[in-house]
């Protein structure tokens, strides 16, 4: 119960004035106090002679401890136990509940950790079939949204608060007075919930004339479903050896990124040379995470992906008349090398039944149809892709708009959604929506749509709701609440049930009723309980469906595409933001501050542009430009994105939200980003449009970027190789930089160890090349039971940044705001470094046009020979017996010498009290320097010491609930860094000791402890464990030949080692590089790691430096 003690009343022994000690001794209060404090002395008080003596010797104590200096003792705190304790509840032990986070067409199965009856951390459900317990960024951040002070907390009518009962009665009234449903319209979001589907159907049956519409600004299903003739594809990337992504960012931007990452990584995990690897081709205009991970990437404007896809389809699926006709209509752009297309198609064709083509949501149905056609022609159907029937399609927003304009809508029920903000600009939704007589909306925030609603009902967060969902393969998952709705929120299904006048309006009952359809034979209650316990119901996958081949022909023949973009007619791509999605997460501070996985910028929407196009317009990074598209204009800062298509601009959705008097973005999400992409986006071209004009405004705008330097400059920080190179020279990763010279280190024949000037006390146990492990029993400070280490596989790390947010959630890492991030003060304990490398064949400025990218999670390496430990003047950072570099926050005085000394720069300093002070310029306010309410703050503060809380009360109380009680919340002036989740380590060790009791079975079994980053990683790239256990996964991984240390030459001896990345390019492709580009740069500057050291063109550099060799 680590909470601030509540203010307590004056202690009984308050300030009392007495003229003499005798006087004091006579007062009953004093007597009582003495009896309590000094039971033995109490008797002496009565005896007049002994009393004198007693008073003499105790006089100082009286003064100090209450009768003079009241409050020298710590303030009195109360313990409030239960009156009646809930069964099974143990304070201090977290409980876990299985639930799921519903997404548009799927769900993320979860196990949520709950402390004291409130959820504090979201984890994936490892028991879920084919799920490793990983999550994505939105899921990790969703817990903060639960405790968002700006969420809707009340029921309103015309903006005035009304009692909940009144609003709920109104809903029932809607149903009662609806008749056949004439004039009743529903606007819904996408969901996979069978309960909502069932209620939709029941309400539709009851009101047959009611109209149903759905709108998602980023519709992840429409293209795929339309393109597959009413079927939904389910891709199995783990079954594929060759993957082609047509503008499909399945790693970061599409439905089900978690599952796709995991399956993709299964084909990327390499243990030894010769292990099979999959191959990824990407055709795209934006630089996406998938493009960064691709072995070959074709850079074309997004609107030209159709032409590219057609060309590949012509080659891979020959003989299809519709495809041939399309190829004539949309020829390949001249900038594209036809060999790229030919070889890619050949590779696909060579892997019949083991290849897969995916198309992204930004692409029109024609591209999805092409993907389906190629998959069908290559025999992939049923193996790497299966289809199922799409659910009933609801009407589109445009149809609702027509109805509204006709005045045919009397009651519009909006569930979720934020159409006033996110509807296409040509719909002018604010005025259109007002044409409905009554608008009832269920919303999570009182946002832009709120002022235009008659009734507004607060939506419950998924962590407080009963519901259900089906993951993309169809498995049923429960949405189980972990806490009562904090502010009386209600769910979608309850609203539908009330409107439909159904008997059971409680979501719990509705879900149970739906479950009866799935439960099958057997005891229903037992099945239900198991369902809630496990978090899924087995054997509920969707029935597969054959794809109707002729359906594709129609879609292909009616395909259209805009003209190719040019300098005067630029392409604008509206892309789903990696952090804010379509804007729904804009009030989530964690997501705002999460560096974008590709651009590494925070708190901003950028105008992404290619190097060449920027040059043509004469703009540089952070220049503000105006984009004009069909008469609509926005302004935004330019950001040159390596690998971006020419004559194309990338605009993020979700920014530019304002906060008005009546409603709008929350306090965090307001005024973030210069432009609102929705102001430019029209219904004719929702994802990309050609015809924009760019003009300079002459202004600049500060963009906060956490990693501006994108090049490793030939340093072997991320080490990689092509698969063939790895096969020929498996030890390449250790053959780089100064580690390549390790064979030159002379060995002392007596000890078998290298001669060393300095033997670090903790270095003993690690096996190095040629060294023998030191006898642990003789080392006092080295545990013989656990030695923790971590291995990060760079081949499977896709750069999704879920680990960064998981760490933030687990360890109470604060957010600092845009201004502080620009000063490099971001607090993320774990960061993903992203490096670009270009081909030296090109002119220097052109190197970033078609770069290769690598990502590397960088966290505290827990060096055995830590440079930070020896420089702390107060010994606040020490090394523990199990290999952890430990941080004692209460000892730190804020010298920051440790951060100065850290070569990895992973230590973060709390420059301000980020928890108590609102982020922004107010951080700099202190009682001494600022004033408020007309008085100097210092005077205010002296009168009321508790006013130092400059964060408003409602924010403070609510946001405190998201903190993990097992981790300290750090104050200003304290250094912090990755602790290997020491709270989880200690928790597991304690649990093991408790289990062991009076025995010696105290070693924690491998796999028990999962650090937060490890648990969140969907690809299992991060592995943590005990290096003393030879069978632990981490020990096995560290034995692999391509394991290496970052900056190992500094002799820091990090416990975090990396497995070098292995690429799998196709030698026949025109953009094939025989050596990964950043290693080429290294080889040019230092030496070829793929040859034995002495043979590498190594004598050159040595001769130049004149060193003997």
């Amino acid at each position: 119960m680590k909470t601030i003690p509540p203010p307590c009343p004056e202690p009984e022994s308050g300030q009392r004035y007495w003229r003499s000690l005798d006087d004091l001794a006579d007062s009953p209060d004093f007597r009582q106090w003495v009896e309590r404090e000094f039971p033995s002395g109490a008797s002496e008080l009565k005896d007049p002679i002994a009393r004198r003596h007693f008073m003499k010797i105790m006089s100082a104590s009286f003064a100090l401890a209450g009768f003079g200096l009241a409050g020298c003792r710590r303030p009195e705190e109360k313990i409030l136990p239960f009156s009646k304790q809930p069964e099974g509840y143990v304070h201090g032990v977290p409980q876990y509940y299985a639930t799921a986070m519903p997404t548009r067409g799927s769900a993320v199965p979860l196990l949520v950790k709950s402390h004291d009856g409130r959820p504090t951390k979201v984890e994936g459900n490892p028991d879920y079939p084919d799920h490793n317990g990983g999550t994505d960024t939105f899921t990790q951040a969703s817990i903060l949204s639960l405790y968002d002070p700006d969420r809707a907390k009340r029921f309103t009518r015309n903006g005035e608060t009304v009692p909940a009962v009144e609003a709920l009665d109104f809903l029932s009234n809607v149903g009662r007075t609806a008749g056949q449903g004439q004039g009743l319209c529903f606007l819904l979001e996408h969901t996979s919930s069978p309960s909502r589907l069932r209620l939709q159907q029941e309400v539709a049956k009851k009101f047959p004339q009611a109209r149903w519409f759905s709108y998602e600004p980023v519709d992840l299903q429409f293209g795929a479903t339309a393109g597959a003739g009413g079927s939904v594809p389910f891709h199995k990337l783990d079954q594929a050896k060759v993957i082609l992504a047509l503008d499909c960012d399945f790693i970061g931007d599409e439905e089900d990124t978690c599952r796709h990452c995991r399956n993709f990584a299964k084909g990327r995990r390499i243990q030894k040379p010769g292990d099979p690897l999959n191959r990824l081709y990407a055709v795209e205009g934006l630089m996406t995470l998938t493009g960064m991970n691709a072995d070959h990437r074709l850079r074309v404007p997004t609107s030209s992906v159709l032409a590219g896809a057609t060309a590949i389809a012509t080659a891979a699926a020959p003989g299809n008349a519709a495809v041939t006709a399309l190829a004539q209509k949309f020829p390949l752009p001249t900038s594209v090398d036809p060999k790229w297309i030919a070889e890619c198609a050949a590779d696909l064709a060579q892997n019949k039944g083991a290849s897969v083509v995916l198309a992204g949501h930004r692409q029109p149905p024609a591209v999805h149809a092409l993907a389906a056609a190629i998959n069908a022609a290559l025999g992939n159907n049923g193996k790497t892709v299966v289809y199922r029937e799409a659910g009933p399609q609801l009407g589109r927003l445009g149809e609702l708009r027509e109805l509204l304009n006709q005045g045919a809508v009397s009651t519009l029920v909006i569930l979720g959604s934020n159409p006033v903000y996110s509807a296409p600009a040509d719909f002018d939704w604010a005025t259109t929506q007002a044409k409905a007589k009554t608008v009832v909306r269920l919303g999570y925030y009182e946002d832009e749509t709120f002022p235009f609603c008659t009734w507004h009902l607060p939506l419950a967060h998924y962590l407080e709701s009963w519901g259900d969902a089906r993951t993309s393969d169809g498995t049923l998952a429960p949405v189980q609440p972990l806490i009562q709705p904090l502010f009386g929120g209600i769910t979608e299904i309850e609203v539908l049930a009330r409107i439909g006048g159904m008997d059971s309006t409680k979501p719990h009952d509705i879900v149970r009723d739906t479950f009866r359809q799935f439960a099958g034979q057997g005891n229903f209650e037992e099945t239900w309980k198991k369902f809630l316990h496990d978090g899924f119901l087995p054997n509920t996958i969707y029935r597969p469906r054959e794809l109707a081949a002729n359906a594709l022909g129609n879609i292909l023949s009616s395909a259209t595409a805009p003209a190719a973009p040019s300098k005067d007619s630029l392409e604008v791509v509206f892309h789903r933001d990696y952090k804010l999605d379509d804007g729904r997460w804009s009030n989530n501070g964690w997501l705002q501050e999460l560096p974008d996985p590709v651009t590494k910028t925070v708190w901003d929407g950028l105008v992404l542009i290619s190097r060449k196009t920027a040059e043509e317009f004469g703009v540089e990074n952070t220049d503000v430009v105006e984009i004009e598209l069909n008469g609509r204009k926005i302004q935004g800062p330019v950001w040159i994105q390596p690998g971006f298509a020419d004559n194309s601009l990338g605009i993020s959705l979700g920014y530019g939200r304002k906060r008005g008097e009546k409603g709008g973005a929350g306090r965090v999400g307001q005024n973030v980003g210069l432009y609102n992409a929705y102001a430019l986006r029209t219904s004719a071209a929702e994802y990309f449009a050609v015809g924009a004009k760019l003009t300079k405004t002459g202004r600049t705008y500060k963009v906060s970027c956490t990693q501006e330097h994108g090049s490793m400059e030939g340093r072997p920080i991320v080490r990689e190789a092509n698969a063939e190179q790895y096969k020929e020279f498996p030890g390449f990763a250790k053959n780089m930089d100064l580690e390549a010279h390790s064979e030159h280190i002379p060995i002392d024949p007596k000890t078998g160890k290298p001669y060393m000037i300095y033997e670090h006390p903790y270095s003993g146990y690690r096996e190095r090349k040629g060294q023998v492990a030191v006898d642990l029993s003789k080392q006092m400070f080295v545990s013989a039971i656990h030695q923790w280490g971590m291995s990060i596989d760079l081949s499977t790390c896709v750069g999704c940044t879920s680990c960064v947010l998981a760490c933030q959630a687990e360890n109470n890492v604060p957010i600092v705001g845009k201004d502080q991030v620009s000063r490099n003060r971001e607090m993320h304990w774990l960061r993903i470094d992203r490096y670009w490398s270009g081909s030296a064949d090109k002119a220097p400025k052109e190197m970033i046009d078609d770069p290769q990218a690598v990502t590397q999670p960088m966290l505290c390496q827990h060096c055995e020979n830590a440079p930070c430990e020896s420089v702390c003047p107060v010994n606040a950072t020490v090394h523990d017996e199990e290999g952890l570099n430990v941080m004692a926050y209460n000892r730190c005085v804020g010298t920051r010498y440790c951060s100065n000394n850290c070569p990895y720069k992973v230590r973060r300093f709390n420059f301000f009290d980020y928890n108590k002070h609102p982020i922004g310029k107010d951080l700099y306010k202190s009682p001494l320097t600022s004033s408020s309410k007309g008085r100097w703050n210092l005077l205010n503060w002296l009168k009321e010491p508790s006013m130092h809380h400059t964060v408003e009360e409602d924010q403070w109380d609510l946001m405190a609930l998201v903190r993990n009680p097992d981790v300290s919340v750090r104050m200003r002036g304290v250094m912090e860094k990755c602790t290997f989740c020491v709270q989880r380590i200690e928790g597991a060790k304690i649990a093991q000791k408790v289990k062991a009791g009076a025995s010696g079975d105290v070693q924690v079994p491998d796999g028990t402890i999962k650090t937060a980053c490890q648990q969140a990683c969907p690809t299992d790239a991060i592995v943590f464990g005990n290096q003393l256990d030879p069978n632990s996964r981490v020990s096995q991984l560290k034995k692999l030949q391509h394991d290496y240390e970052v900056l190992g030459f500094l002799d820091t001896r990090p416990r975090v080692t990396y497995l070098a990345r292995v690429r799998n390019p196709n030698p026949k492709m025109p953009d094939y590089h025989a050596i990964p580009l950043n290693i080429k740069e290294y080889a040019d500057k230092q030496g070829n790691p793929f040859q034995a050291h002495h043979d590498a063109g190594h004598t050159n550099s040595h001769a130049q430096k004149g060193g003997a060799h």
């Binding site: 020298c72 313990i79 409030l80 009156s83 143990v90 032990v93 523990d880 017996e881 300290s968 408790v994």
Partner: protein, 217 residues
């Protein structure tokens, strides 16, 4: 030149220095003694809303600690029992006693809990775990003193970091068989051979960490 300062001021610097040293020593000594947890905490016995005597319940009646402090073996936190636990007996025993009125009131549904005053409190940056100590042979009396003899609980040991380290540096003398952990009157010196602790430490692989990460996270 006339004497500006009288003669006696010649002694002032020396006197000032001596005085300063004396005051400094006194202040340091005073702080050293009076401001340490050993002085400020030991003996602290606040007035509780109900004068619950451990001596009656534990020594006379023989109740085990874990009957009330039920979470001590499972959690870091050793809970003060819910009023319902008290009412298990006190709905019959002393059922009208005025001293038990707060308990009876709080046990009725919908009422506020009893506001016990917390006696043993460690700073927020210390993460102490009861379960690992109780399950590994450290008795309650080691840190809480002779609770079974207390009429009103007082803070018996300083519970400062020195106190914790004293045991962590040498846990063997403080170990006892796990089934005797809550037997507060049991004297290990009378019942155990002198090297029992050292043997237990080895056999159980008692590894009382002296490192910061054990308690400070």
């Amino acid at each position: 030149m006339p004497n500006v300062f009288p003669r006696w001021t010649n002694r002032l610097p020396a006197l000032a220095l001596v005085g300063l040293l004396l005051v400094g020593t006194a202040a340091t000594a005073g702080l050293w003694y009076y401001f340490t947890p050993k002085y400020t905490r030991v003996g602290y016995s606040p007035i509780q809303p109900v004068p619950f005597p451990h001596s009656v319940h534990v020594e006379q009646l023989g109740m085990d600690c874990r009957y009330c402090h039920s979470a001590v073996e499972k959690s870091w936190y050793s809970n003060v029992p819910a009023s319902q636990t008290c009412m298990n007996c006190h709905n019959q025993v002393l059922k009208d006693d005025p001293r038990l009125a707060p308990i009876r009131e709080s046990a009725t549904p919908g009422s506020r809990p009893v506001e016990w005053v917390q006696i043993h409190k460690l700073p927020d940056y210390v993460y102490f775990n009861h379960s690992v100590h109780v399950n590994r042979g450290i008795s309650c009396v080691h840190c809480h003193g002779d609770i079974h003899k207390m009429d009103e609980v007082y803070h018996a040991k300083p519970l400062n970091m020195t106190f914790c380290l004293e045991c962590h540096r040498n846990p063997a003398p403080n170990l006892r068989p796990p089934d005797k952990v809550t037997d507060l009157a049991w004297d290990p010196h009378k019942h155990l051979p002198p090297d029992w602790g050292a043997k237990a430490k080895k056999e159980w692989k008692v590894n009382a960490s002296q490192n910061c990460s054990a308690c400070h996270r």
